[in-house]
Symmetry: C2
Subunit: 393 residues, 2 copies
């Protein structure tokens, strides 16, 4: 068919096996997530930075670099093109250069999860999915439930019972089927993998379907475009499942091949909580994969992921860009959350606050230099954490 | 000074007295709110719809029609240019034509209050304000606290103790001075008017300072631009203090004089809760002003305003556009809230849901015709009302 999308295949980053994007896919036979591949030469002939200016202020402006073939399948609530807000008071206080916050709290459902859900649900609808299922720490489930409702797809969501309360409301009001589980997201995943085969649901767990990352990568496209294609020195990201950092790295490589950016890529920084820091531990050892982090616990619930399926991709992104991984304590997270609100007017989620705490450590160690430009990813709105200052849900 | 702003004066809509916009002003000596006036011929020479396309996706794209003189005083968190989302499933279910939702839940602080706060705080900073004070039902206080923090202005907020809990967190985390009051927003206002003279705070109560409405009017500009300057048949708005509907009406008149729109203006519809419907009662009588609505109560807390200072301006907007006012019950509000989430994927605030309930009534009565285009204003995110489905805070 005649399509604007330049997708050509799904490719395994481990064993290089290729899969057809016109059929439903999950993991590679070798167990690795699949990544979407595009004909970037064709895309560069169809769109360029000058033409982008006339496109809508949503992630769909990067139409050619997204996997949906037919516009009629796009399920949109106006997601994307979130503000890149300067943080001058924070920068001054800590002797940093230019610090910007990419504020993903202003997306539908209040978190960055809306990007992956918009693209993932659109593609699922295009491929005829009627029911989908996933484990979640709350925010992804809320986003997928909302977009599935808009698409007329039934969603089945498994969530730890101590996930943020607001996400329960979001999931049920959207008409999704919610199961609360006593355990972690990894326990939800295990339960789900047992019930999926019998029910014929499409498994949209993190990185088990290949298109969520395509939505997330648009953060990288937007940061580059909003900075007029002059990249920052580093981009720091709160890292749980890691789809965001993997997506941004994928975006940067695509942008370089498109010829829209040049030179050195920004150093990508994974920020984790001290109570759940498997990527930081792997980074310290120079390892290519992480080990399961036992008894994990942190106030930044969204990054409580003891073992990420895409850990090797996260670590590759860090090593290839000469980035790093840094862990911060819960008290430092709360302090940074208060600072962003009282100095900059931004009430962020604890995961976003963790990134500021991480940047402060990197500045102290002079790993972040005085004159450098840093982009801090805030993955969600503080509105989803009404009790964050009162020590519990 | 050389400025992009085309503001010329503050004018009383009642007695026509003019005031200097280069000094701090509150109400007119006659007790009426003041409205900002612009040199629209000059503005039309500086900007036009074609030039707007290259402007940032924030409300500051309408720079000439905003009152801030010097860009350096702009206090921004990236507010504005919120999505105008189609609601095809709702339209089909109720035999409506095109229905769009202007989704103000995607603004900083999660409500439309951010527009007024961004412009109001920017102008306050420009005029040297160090401390400001206001009564609030919660969301306005949260927005002004956030923008005041970013501006380095101390905010003093008085709020009913049964206002949404999340707004307490927002106000305190931003470093504002919060006072909880046993009573309604009108009681907060009375307390405040006693304490303001002694403290020298700038009173930014609804319509008591003239610039909040300038922020709100950008909703009207955006709706027109997003519909490519082809206006809808009606715009329906949840009406408490009424600044939104007054602002949209002001925007439409300015747009007509700028020459960017032509023809009949959209009918403006004020939607209220049956438990607090002073404007609806006035409209039914054909009155020019409303009477205090006693013992008001509704689940849509943000529109629990028993007597609006700008009631005569709201009613003028309705009468002049051949609009109407309609009241809906709390049960209808909750039903509509569930419908928007489960059919369209949009988790809205009860005030936004009230507007859909109102549109259904108007469609039933054939006041809204089958083929007409309606814009529904959703003033905030459902995320601020985590307990809306459980019958209380």
């Amino acid at each position: 068919m005649n399509t604007q999308s330049c997708i050509t295949a799904l490719v395994c980053p481990k064993c290089k096996k290729r899969y057809d994007y016109r059929e439903l896919q999950n993991l590679c036979q070798c167990g690795s997530p699949l990544l979407a591949e595009y004909d970037l030469e064709r895309a560069a002939g169809m769109v360029n930075p000058g033409l982008l200016k006339d496109r809508p202020a949503t992630l769909w402006r990067y139409r050619e670099l997204l996997p949906v073939l037919d516009d009629r399948h796009i399920v949109s609530l106006g997601e994307g093109w979130t503000p890149l807000t300067a943080l001058p008071a924070v920068a001054a206080k800590y002797g940093m250069g230019n610090v910007y916050m990419k504020d993903e709290g202003l997306l539908p459902t209040g978190t960055f999860k809306a990007r992956g859900a918009a693209v993932g649900v659109s593609k699922a609808r295009e491929l005829g999915v009627r029911e989908l299922a996933m484990p979640t720490n709350g925010n992804a489930g809320a986003a997928w439930a909302a977009y599935a409702a808009r698409a007329g797809i039934q969603a089945h969501i498994l969530m730890p019972e101590d996930a943020p309360l607001i996400t329960r409301t979001e999931i049920t009001v959207a008409g999704a089927d919610l199961h609360l589980v006593r355990g972690l997201i990894s326990d939800c995943g295990r339960l789900l993998s047992r019930s999926i085969p019998a029910n014929g649901w499409y498994d949209v767990s993190t990185l088990k379907e290949p298109y969520r990352i395509e939505g997330k990568k648009t953060m990288g496209y937007e940061i580059a475009e909003q900075l007029h294609w002059q990249l920052p020195d580093l981009i720091a990201y709160p890292t749980g499942g890691g789809v965001g950092i993997i997506g941004i790295y994928k975006a940067l490589r695509e942008l370089r091949r498109l010829g829209w950016i040049a030179g050195k890529l920004p150093r990508l920084v994974a920020v984790q909580a001290e109570g759940c820091a498997p990527i930081v531990e792997a980074y310290r050892k120079g390892a290519a994969e992480s080990a399961f982090f036992p008894d994990s616990k942190t106030v930044a619930f969204g990054i409580n992921v003891p073992k990420a399926l895409g850990d090797f991709l996260i670590l590759e992104a860090i090593y290839q860009t000469e980035g790093c991984a840094v862990a911060v304590g819960d008290a430092e997270i709360i302090t940074s959350l208060r600072e962003l609100a009282s100095l900059e007017g931004a009430f962020v989620c604890p995961e976003g606050a963790a990134v500021l705490a991480g940047l402060k450590k990197l500045r102290d160690a002079d790993w972040l230099k005085a004159g450098e430009t840093a982009v801090l990813l805030n993955t969600g709105s503080g509105l989803k954490y009404p009790d964050i200052l009162h020590g519990g849900p």
